[in-house]
C-alpha cells in the first residue's frame, strides 16, 4: 500500500500539488490521469525521492519513505523517455543497474521477450527509440519489484512490444504488485487500470474505480469521462471527489 497524505509542492510561485491525498492499494493498477502540467510526474517523482514535497507524508506499507532511499529496492521505475549514456553497451547498462542492487532476484523475462540480447553489445546511442524504451521497461521489471511506477510505458513501443508489456503488467497485478501508471492513451488505461486518480492544476479531482468514474460522469468510456471531468474542473475549480470518498482498494 502506498499512501500520499496532504502532499503539497510548489516550484517558485506555482503550486504544482495542492493537498493531494491518495491511497494506492496492492494488486491494483492505478492510473494517474491529468492534462499536461497537472502534477502527475511531480507526484511520481516525490514517491521515487527525486523531488521532495513541501508538506505532507508518503508512506509505503505504513512506513515513511526514508531519505537514504533503501525503500527503492522495492520499486521499479520506467521513465517516460529512456536516455542512457550513448557509448554504454546494452549489456553494460544492465550490469550497472544489477551492480546497484546486489543480491536482488532477477527476472529476465522482458529481456528475452523483447529480444534485447540481440543488441547486447551495441552502444545504447545506436539503438532506436523503441529499443531504448524496451531496455527501459526491462530494467523496471528486472528485480521483481513489489511497486511499479510506469510513466507512459507504451510510448514509442511497437504494437507487439506494447502488447507484451501490457500482458506483463496484468500478470504483475495478479501477483499482488502495486502499479502506478500514467498515459495519455486513455483507452489503454481503461484496459489496464482498476482505479483512476484524476489530477488537474495540482488538485486531485477524482479518485475511484473505473466503474465509479463512468457512473459519476455518465460516460461509456474513460476517455469521454475524463473529458467531462476536465470541463467540470475548469468550470467550477472545485474538487469532484476526494480520497475520502474512495473505497479501499481490494487486494487481488
Amino acid at each position: 500500500m502506498i499512501s500520499f497524505q496532504g502532499i503539497r509542492k510548489a516550484f517558485g510561485a506555482r503550486q504544482v500539488l495542492d493537498d493531494v491525498s491518495l491511497d494506492v492499494g496492492p494488486g491494483r493498477v492505478t492510473a494517474l490521469i491529468g492534462p499536461n502540467g497537472s502534477g502527475k510526474t511531480t507526484l511520481i517523482k516525490i514517491l521515487l525521492g527525486l523531488a521532495r514535497q513541501d508538506a505532507g507524508l508518503v508512506r509505503m506499507n505504513g512506513v515513511d519513505l526514508d531519505a537514504a532511499g533503501a525503500y527503492r529496492s522495492a520499486v521499479g521505475y520506467m521513465p517516460q523517455s529512456a536516455k542512457f549514456p550513448d557509448h554504454l553497451r546494452v549489456r553494460e547498462v544492465f550490469e550497472l543497474v544489477t551492480a546497484l542492487r546486489p543480491g536482488a532476484p532477477r527476472d529476465e523475462e522482458l529481456i528475452e521477450a523483447f529480444s534485447l540480447t540481440a543488441d547486447w553489445d551495441r552502444p545504447v546511442g545506436t539503438l532506436s527509440g523503441g529499443t531504448r524504451q524496451k531496455v527501459n521497461a526491462a530494467i523496471a521489471f528486472l528485480f521483481q519489484p513489489s511497486v511499479l511506477v510506469l510513466d507512459e510505458p507504451t510510448a514509442g513501443l511497437d504494437p507487439i512490444a506494447a502488447g507484451v508489456l501490457r500482458e506483463r503488467i496484468h500478470r504483475d497485478r495478479e501477483r499482488g504488485r502495486t502499479v502506478i501508471v500514467t498515459s495519455h492513451v486513455l483507452s489503454e488505461l481503461e484496459e489496464l487500470a482498476q482505479d483512476i486518480a484524476f489530477l488537474c492544476e495540482g488538485r486531485l479531482r477524482f479518485v475511484g474505480s473505473t466503474p465509479e468514474l463512468l457512473a459519476r460522469t455518465g460516460a461509456a468510456h474513460v476517455e469521454p469521462a475524463i473529458a467531462v471531468l476536465m470541463r467540470e474542473s475548469r468550470r467550477h475549480d472545485q474538487p469532484l471527489a476526494t480520497a475520502d470518498a474512495v473505497p479501499t482498494p481490494e487486494a487481488a
Binding site: 517523482k45 549514456p85 557509448h87 530494467i139
Partner: protein, 262 residues
Amino acid sequence: MTVASVVLRSGLSDLARNRWVIGYAAAFFVIGEALFWFGGTGTQVVLSLLNIVLMVVPMVSLVFGAIYVYGAREFTEMLLAQPVPRRQLFVGLFLGLAIPLAGAFLVGAGLPFLLHRGGGVHPGALVALLVAGTGLGASCAAIAVAIALYTDDRLRGVGITLGVWLAMTVLYDAAILAIVASFDAWPLERPLLVMMLANPVDLARGLVLTQLDVSALMGYTGALFERTFGSLAGTIIAVTALAAWTVAPFTVAARRFRRRDF
C-alpha cells in the same frame, strides 16, 4: 563494490569511447608532436603547451562538463530511482566525468614527451605541467558541475560556463593590469598574490613557472609568485590552492545534488 565505484566505472566506459574526449587527447598529442617537430626544445615545448593548456583545459572542462551534466539528466534520474544514496551517486558521477578528462589530457600532453624521451626538459617542469593541467581540469569540471546543478536552463548554464572561462583566462589578467596601472604607487605585492590564489588558471601558470626560469615572460602575477615564494613553497601553495579550487566547487555541487529536485 560501492555505489560510487559502480557509477564511476560506467562513466569511464562511456567517456573513454566519447569522440570529443578522444579528440581532446588527440589535439594535445598533435600539438605536442608539432612543437617538437618544429624544433622546439623541451622547455620551449613545455612553455608553448602551457599557454595552450591554460586556455583549452578550462574551456573544455567547463563547457564539456556542463553539457555532460545536462545530457545525463535523465540517466541521473534513472540512477536516483535505484536504492542508492545521493552522496555516493554524486561522487561516482563527478569522478566519471573528471577522471576521463584528466586521463585524456595526461595521455595527449604526456605522450609526445615520452616519445621524445623527455625532450631534454627538466622533469620537474614536465610533472608541473601535467599536474597543473590535471588540477585545472578537475577544478573547472567541478565548477561546471556546480553551475549545471544550480542552473536548470541548459543554454543559460553553458553561457555561464563560457563567461567563467572568459573571466578566468582573459578578464582576470586585464583586471590585474588595470589594478597595477591604477595603484602603481601602492605596495601591491600582497593583494596581487591573494588575487592569484583566486584564479585557478593563474595558479596553474604559477605552478609551472616555479619550475622554469622564465617567469618574467608569463605575466605580472607569475613573476611575483615565483619571486616571493621560490620554487618549493610556490609549488606547495599552488598545488594546495588548486586542490582547494577543486574541493570547494565539488562540495557546493554535492550539497546542491543532495538537496535539489530532479
